[in-house]
Symmetry: C2
Subunit: 244 residues, 2 copies
């Protein structure tokens, strides 16, 4: 008897079938961001399954970042507008568990952030430059108040990436900064002179971009990132931060 007659009755899990169906609706844009799915109880009768099963499907969709669930009247599952933060989070969890070393991630970051400098020099608008300069000013003030954190630095780099006017690249850089902030908390409180130097390098970079000076911009960014990279490498080579 030819076995091809029997199609392997896959998907032994009903909840997964529901997930697939809703995914399909999303892909075909019959469900658009902001739309609200029927309530759990309605979905039950619609799919002819119990509420538990529907809820499991919703959990999966939620964990995939495809829907957001709100409670209360007029609550329910709402299709989310996909953004980089979710990708970054998912990437962060896996990064934090994968055998990747901080040095590797840092090097990858270096490749990306250096590689986009030409695009930035070419495409940065006046508004971009204004934003970046304003950021530098703010950071300088924060630095004086002793409130300069890695997070501010990360914001700067993200804003720089946005100057490429390429959402994929922006997403990529954001994804890198999320995990790095999470895993490299040891560098959270930036030593004053370090922050001062980094802040100055940020400003130099902005001005190089403003002058459309690719070589200067690349050199500045390179020095800036290399310094960060070497610090990361040092701290990890010495068996971890003193903070244990």
């Amino acid at each position: 008897m030819p076995e091809e007659l029997f199609k392997t009755v896959s998907s032994s899990r009903v909840s997964q079938v529901i997930v697939d169906q809703i995914r399909l609706l999303l892909k075909e844009e019959r469900l658009k961001p902001g739309d609200r799915l029927p309530s759990e109880r309605e979905l039950c009768v619609h799919f002819g399954v119990s509420r538990v099963t529907v809820r499991e499907a919703l959990r999966i969709l939620e964990a995939s970042g495809l829907v957001e669930i709100r409670v209360g009247a007029r609550g329910g599952a709402f299709v989310t507008t996909p953004d980089a933060r979710q990708v970054g989070e998912g990437l962060a969890t896996l990064l934090s568990l994968s055998p990747l070393t901080a040095a590797e991630v840092t090097e990858a970051r270096l490749v990306v952030e250096l590689g986009i400098v030409p695009l930035i020099v070419e495409r940065a608008t006046q508004e971009d430059l204004d934003d970046l300069r304003a950021m530098c000013d703010e950071h300088a003030e924060a630095l004086e108040r002793g409130e300069y954190t890695m997070e501010l630095s990360a914001d700067f780099h993200t804003r720089v990436a946005a100057c490429t006017h390429n959402a994929a690249i922006k997403m990529l850089v954001e994804s890198f900064h999320g995990p790095l902030l999470m895993s490299l908390r040891q560098a959270q409180t930036v030593e004053p002179q370090m922050g001062l130097l980094g802040s100055k390098e940020h400003r130099d970079f902005v001005e190089a971009v403003a002058a459309r000076d690719l070589d200067a911009a690349t050199a500045t960014m390179n020095a800036h990132l290399q310094r960060t990279a070497s610090r990361v490498k040092d701290e990890h080579a010495e068996g971890g931060p003193a903070t244990g």
Copy 2:
């Protein structure tokens, strides 16, 4: 009754708390890949919650690619070994739904794959070169048989990325190729002359790397990627591929 004096806005969802706890165990490596979590019923009593809640937590962990669930005796939730494929999948689902254009993704890919050329030229071992040459030979044969696919090309680029000996970068490139193959299926069947040209460029690149000629390698890869990029752009600018 004290009852958790400082219980911040902690998500109000018990299943999420369980997820966080298990995540923590993973992060602290108290749970390693291959380990089996207690059965659902055991987890119930352990956490003092119902089975529904435990199951939702497991669904989330499963959707996040952190555990794999097997049914039957000796079944249960097993910690998975994290790999790039999962990152790529998660990225792919979001990419396919995000407002990213193919052109943006392609440009990002271009930045990364060009940016790593210096690392490759510097670090490629003899084994790397042997592998790449073997790949080129195989692809040439496949081309003659008319079996040259985008997937083979993607394999080549992934192998090239592996020459950086940086797992993060390899993962990054893989993640790009996964979604691209999924979403840009229009270029699935490569026209013979296209494949021939691409294949030749691959070989040229390998030899440039073998000669440790950074400029030649960069130029070759740049031309190769630019050609692909422009093709993607064209096909999307013209309102979709003719193949439908």
